[in-house]
């Protein structure tokens, strides 16, 4: 047992730290600013071109075939340097690599990993949130193509995406979980309409609604078999629930570092409860960091990814919301006197974490029934 870097890990850390010193774009944290989303593609490409992105993914698709602990090192260094987090799209990579044919993988993974192609994820609908399998968007076969009709929502970065990882109903005559299929839909077509959503913290470039009105996708762009869509979606959402996959530890650590800097700069201006709110946020972030280390080490034994992702998602949610609360506490009145206040935005954004990627209530159902073995009603 050793929490320290191996020689190869230490070499990687040093190399990345050196590179980052010259290449830190100085972007704001993603949760608070439209500028992050506007420049995320640049940051993705810069990381990829320097050999620091897709570390644990296959070499043939542009990755580096390294153990996942290298992502943890990268995240730690990003946090230390107050650099923006790495773009989180590991769950899409997992969905395509677990379910896509060789042809699909060859076609889509290199662009996804390099950042040359940008993707969004079309799962949720206005009437299909936690009950995702009841979704109503349809894909109807028409020759060599499918025709898409429907309405997706909470679609992050849809306005800048080249591709949509879309879940649609292809069979109405089977049980709701069995009639779904997944597609890579090109976004650049007139039958797709974008309607951005403004989040409660004011940012407009993250969330969107997407309307498909006769959009077309080649049948060859189906990911997995017809009817495999539900399993594809479960692969994606279960990976989406993992803090290690997402690299959010860096984002939380960056915020806590900033809060500590603010308090240290003027210690006499803060009450002990504010100081302790920051200390508690630091404790939570440290917990998540070590938890990710423990989870990734379990993988070395071949412990497969499973319902444990829901535990990680709940822990991550509590961390984000503790950090958000600490930001609000430190800001005090300033947070309500200025609608552009960063602490206000961090706090408001943190409330989404217990909804996105499956609500905390859904995660608790999974932990209770699939991990604790409690009976279903």
């Amino acid at each position: 047992m050793d929490f320290r870097d191996s020689p190869a890990e230490a070499e990687f850390r040093a190399r990345f730290r050196t590179w980052l010193a010259d290449n830190n774009p100085g972007l704001p944290t993603s949760s608070t600013d439209d500028e992050y989303w506007a420049r995320q593609a640049e940051w993705h490409t810069a990381l990829f071109d320097a050999g620091f992105f897709g570390l644990s993914w296959p070499t043939r698709f542009g990755g580096h075939d390294l153990p996942t602990v290298f992502d943890v090192i990268l995240d730690e260094e990003l946090a230390t340097a107050a650099a923006p987090p790495r773009p989180s799209l590991g769950y899409l990579v997992q969905g395509i690599s677990h379910h896509g044919s060789d042809a699909i993988q060859d076609r889509f993974l290199p662009g996804l990993i390099s950042g040359r192609d940008r993707w969004c994820q079309g799962f949720s609908e206005p009437d299909a949130g936690s009950d995702l399998a009841s979704l109503r968007t349809t894909a109807t076969r028409d020759g060599d193509e499918y025709v898409i009709e429907g309405h997706k929502v909470w679609t992050s970065y849809s306005d800048v995406a080249d591709w949509c990882f879309l879940l649609a109903r292809t069979d109405h005559d089977v049980a709701k979980h069995k009639g779904l299929s997944a597609f890579a839909v090109p976004m650049d077509q007139p039958a797709i309409e974008q309607r951005p959503l403004r989040m409660i913290n004011g940012i407009t470039t993250e969330f969107g609604q997407v309307l498909f009105d006769g959009a077309r996708v080649p049948a060859a762009s189906m990911i997995g078999e017809p009817g495999e869509g539900w399993r594809v979606a479960m692969t994606i959402v279960s990976h989406e629930r993992e803090p290690g996959e997402l690299g959010y530890v860096a984002r939380y650590a960056k915020t806590v570092n900033e809060l500590e800097r603010i308090v240290r700069a003027d210690p006499g201006a803060f009450r002990s409860d504010q100081r302790e709110a920051v200390a508690w946020a630091a404790v939570q972030v440290e917990m998540l960091r070590r938890h990710v280390c423990r989870r990734l080490s379990e993988r070395l034994d071949g412990v497969e990814h499973g319902p444990g992702g829901s535990i990680d998602k709940l822990l991550m949610t509590w961390v984000e919301q503790t950090v958000g609360a600490a930001a609000l506490s430190v800001a005090g009145a300033q947070a309500v006197l200025d609608s552009d206040d960063t602490a206000l935005k961090v706090y408001l954004y943190s409330r989404a974490q217990s909804v996105m990627g499956g609500t905390s209530q859904v995660q608790k159902n999974i932990v209770a029934t699939r991990i604790l073995g409690l009976p279903t009603a």
């Binding site: 002990s272 709940l314 409690l374």
Partner: protein
């Protein structure tokens, strides 16, 4: 980085689990079974676990903080009524001071560290926890560090924890100087071990009380169905399970840090773990009482044995409030101005 247990550590966990399952208490009445608890004490001693932090002959401990934490956690799981953490901490303390006697430690009134006295007699009541020794170590300030001293441990008293002993060292006890020095660094490193082991005990208590509560929720029926089938109950237990898992991750790091980081960094890791584990354990044990309903509030239900053990382990080396206060001081600088 590889945080997996070694095969030897996994084997230690397995054998400790087996021993605790066979000899630990299974009912509240069973706590009075002196023959059983004596067999447990003998087995723990014979396994060599009380010596895990004793001198290996070269000044180093026989085993790392990780091994000691594994045993502490497993004994917590079964609310084992046997001296372990207190004895291991005493052995580690003695080793750092360069003495080999079997002793215990006299804790400060707040229980946050070893007692420091400056006169020839104690001026407040002190306590020795979880030890069977008749002698307890404390410290006298000397220059930049401390000199070791000892007092006779007093009589056994009834503490809140039904599974571990508390002894009272009365006011006015004569302090015997031992002519051994302990540096500040050594004291800090010892505190790191104390924080790591009490955190590990809390992780065990959480796991144990959750196992009991999940089983109860599957068996206890109301409205014709197990209460564990209701989402309201499921979500309480799911929250508690996540708190236990997060605690296990942070406590593991603290136990590794004991022998691998500089004293101040190791103690900060211990404080971080303790802050999280103490807060989590309180919630988890309270959840367990709630899930057991009326029976959970009776003396005969085992759940309060876990809760009481968690209360002592939390206070021992300081609970979450103490740790957050100390951590904010270390990370943010001294308090100035506002209260």
């Amino acid at each position: 980085m590889d945080t997996r247990e070694t095969p030897e550590q996994s084997e230690l966990r397995r054998s400790a689990r087996q021993l605790a399952r066979e000899l630990g208490p299974t009912t509240v009445d069973g706590l009075d079974d002196g023959a059983r608890s004596a067999r447990l004490a003998t087995a723990v001693r014979d396994a060599g676990w009380l010596d895990l932090r004793a001198d290996d002959g070269s000044g180093r401990p026989l085993a790392s903080g990780v091994e000691a934490a594994i045993v502490a956690e497993v004994l917590g799981e079964r609310v084992a009524d046997v001296a372990f953490t207190g004895a291991v901490l005493a052995a580690d303390f003695a080793r750092r001071a360069g003495v080999n006697d079997d002793g215990s430690v006299a804790y400060s009134p707040s229980l946050t560290s070893v007692a420091v006295v400056s006169g020839s007699e104690t001026t407040t009541a002190l306590h020795s926890i979880d030890s069977t020794s008749d002698q307890a170590y404390l410290l006298v300030p000397r220059g930049d560090g401390y000199e070791l001293a000892s007092v006779p441990t007093g009589d056994r008293d009834d503490g809140a924890d039904l599974t571990r002993s508390v002894r009272v060292i009365p006011v006015g006890t004569v302090v015997q100087e031992e002519e051994r020095l302990l540096t500040r660094d050594a004291l800090v490193a010892w505190e790191a071990l104390g924080l790591a082991l009490t955190s590990a005990d809390l992780v065990g208590v959480m796991r144990g009380v959750l196992d009991v509560s999940v089983e109860y929720a599957k068996e206890r029926k109301q409205f014709g169905v197990p209460v564990g089938s209701f989402q309201a109950v499921q979500h309480l237990l799911a929250d508690a399970h996540c708190l236990m898992e997060g605690s296990a991750s942070i406590a593991l790091y603290a136990s590794w840090a004991v022998d691998n980081l500089e004293p101040l960094a190791a103690r900060a890791a211990g404080r971080t773990a303790k802050a999280y584990c103490a807060r989590a354990a309180r919630t988890v044990c309270e959840t367990a009482v709630q899930v057991h309903g009326g029976i959970g509030n009776t003396w005969e239900c085992m759940v309060h044995v876990y809760l009481r053990r968690a209360l002592l382990s939390s206070q021992w080396f300081g609970d979450d409030s103490v740790q957050l206060h100390e951590l904010s001081g270390e990370r943010l600088g001294a308090t100035v101005g506002l209260p």
